[in-house]
């Protein structure tokens, strides 16, 4: 069957990436199977829906974003539901990846100086497996943010149910979470696209080149090639 596909020019890599990952297909390596990619993009899309309907509330400077949905009053209705969808997909993402994202003691250093080292191209990549410490830190940032958004968001959703200091606190938590997460997102997008060519493909087609794997995730590359000691 697969030989027929090859004969008529079907994309074997993409087809294999439907349900397998961490396998070599010709010159490529499948990095994210279809389910991983779908979950990632659900989280991303719901986040941007939340951001677009929430930013006009953050500041009137972003009122134009609210107009895309029919005004601020519509945003106020959409935002909490988009938020629930964001949380649900983020929870699915957490469960989907949590085993692969377990951090070693060494990787905890990525919360601080190691990340700067990495950004300055000074980090030693040799022992980096499928995910580096920074990616893992971002993974937990997203999980924490989803939780912070949910808890504070539910309080803000129902002005009749919750009142007083709890709501004041929720406003602060929602804002701090947003600012911290959005800054992380900016770097996530930057590093996933133009900073490191070939990376975006891993989240769209699901595959990366062998050369890419060797540069960015050498230990993962060696494991797949069977050359890791």
């Amino acid at each position: 069957m697969s030989s027929v596909r090859q004969q008529i020019g079907l994309d074997v890599g993409a087809l294999k990436a439907r349900d397998t990952e961490d396998v070599i297909v010709g010159k490529e390596i499948i990095r994210h199977r279809l389910s991983s990619r779908v979950i990632h993009w659900l989280v991303a899309d719901f986040f941007f829906l939340c951001a677009a309907t929430g930013l006009p509330v953050f500041s009137p400077v972003f009122g134009w974003l609210g107009n895309l949905f029919g005004g601020l009053a519509v945003c106020r209705v959409i935002h909490p539901f988009a938020g629930l969808a964001f949380f649900a997909s983020a929870a699915a993402m957490f469960l989907h990846w949590k085993r692969e994202m377990q951090m070693t003691a060494q990787e905890r250093g990525w919360v601080g100086p190691k990340l700067l080292e990495y950004l300055r191209d000074k980090a030693n990549h040799d022992q980096i497996g499928k995910y580096n410490g920074g990616q893992k830190v971002f993974f937990y940032t997203a999980a924490l943010a989803a939780l912070g958004f949910l808890v504070s968001g539910v309080v803000l959703w129902f002005p009749l149910t919750f009142a007083g200091f709890l709501r004041q606190l929720a406003i602060l938590v929602h804002n701090v979470t947003f600012i911290a997460f959005f800054v992380s997102i900016v770097f996530h997008i930057y590093l996933g696209t133009t900073a490191e060519p070939g990376t975006f493909n891993a989240m769209t087609r699901g595959t990366v080149s062998k050369a890419w794997a060797r540069i960015h995730h050498p230990k993962w590359y060696r494991e797949l090639m069977g050359t890791d000691k």
């Binding site: 191209d121 803000l156 406003i171 804002n175 060519p197 960015h216």
Partner: protein, 294 residues
């Protein structure tokens, strides 16, 4: 509204050009003398009548009070408090309603442009057509006044009868008060009236009588004479109200910081790219550890 928009001196979530107030007007004020209130609730009825508010189901709270709290359809409530103190027993009555703060916390917290406005005459008003019903105003209010209307999903509160006062009439509650404990006029005049009454109360043995016009919220356009001025909490009033620090932290610190952080991150990412370029564009060594291709 079109003429009144010339009188808007402060507007929620306003941007440049959002303020249209060119007229200067004397600040108006409602004067309440809690010590001569007899709790007849004529003001409650007048408020419901004038504003065409529906009947709200009352609930027994153990006193003569109509409701435990103000309601989205009940903007004026006489609070009853039985209080024992050193000099005996007092039955305290206070008219609870929007205080129309000089520096309104509701307006500060509101994220919807123009949903809460302050007119040059001091009246703080909710524009229902701009309101999105998020309830942030209630969170920003130190007096717990704005209420969420379940049917309209908008916030509602006392307007200080903005539709009467702009025609030179006094608010409906003032009009209906039989004892003269309510007056309406310029704040200047009301302050004179209040200081006279406070002096009279002091002479009559209420040494702590005082006017409640809290400076923490920039003074209010509803000023209340309290016989026990050192105990505003006996009347259900906060001792030294101000806009909650959380709301100030959010609007004055977090929001500008958020802008700087987000813009900084975007500029930083661009800068990083200019300085360091792409990673992985170096010519890779041949993949000599590749197994032979099938």
């Amino acid at each position: 509204m079109s003429v009144q928009s010339l009188e808007i001196v402060r507007s929620s979530a306003s941007t440049w050009g959002g303020l249209t107030g060119v007229r200067s007007l004397p600040v108006l004020s409602k004067y309440i003398d809690s010590s001569s209130c007899i709790g007849c609730k004529a003001c409650e009825v007048a408020c419901q009548e004038w504003n065409d508010l529906p009947v709200v189901k009352t609930s027994q709270v153990g006193t003569y009070q109509t409701l435990p709290e103000l309601d989205a359809s009940y903007w004026n409530l006489i609070r009853f408090e039985e209080r024992e103190h050193e000099n005996g027993f007092s039955w305290l009555m206070r008219k609870d309603q929007c205080m129309h703060c000089g520096d309104p916390g509701c307006l500060k917290a509101c994220p919807a442009p123009g949903a809460i406005v302050q007119y040059a005459n001091g009246i703080v008003d909710v524009n229902a057509d701009q309101c999105i019903g998020c309830g942030y105003c209630a969170t920003g209010c130190p007096f717990n006044i704005p209420k969420f209307h379940e049917k309209t999903a908008k916030m509602q509160k006392c307007t200080l009868c903005v539709d009467r006062t702009r025609l030179g009439l006094e608010p409906a509650c003032v009009k209906s008060c039989p004892t003269g404990c309510l007056h309406f006029g310029t704040k200047e005049d009301m302050l004179v009236l209040a200081s006279q009454r406070v002096g009279q109360l002091k002479k009559n043995g209420f040494a702590e009588a005082a006017l409640y016009d809290p400076p923490g919220v920039g003074g209010t356009s509803v000023i209340t004479v309290l016989a026990f001025g050192n105990h505003p909490e006996w009347y259900g009033l906060p001792k030294d109200p101000s806009i909650p620090w959380t709301i100030k932290l959010w609007k004055n610190v977090l929001r500008p910081f958020g802008f700087i952080a987000i813009v900084g991150a975007i500029v930083g990412a661009f800068g990083h790219h200019l300085y360091y370029g792409n990673k992985g564009h170096i010519d890779p060594a041949p993949l000599d550890d590749e197994p032979p291709q099938a």
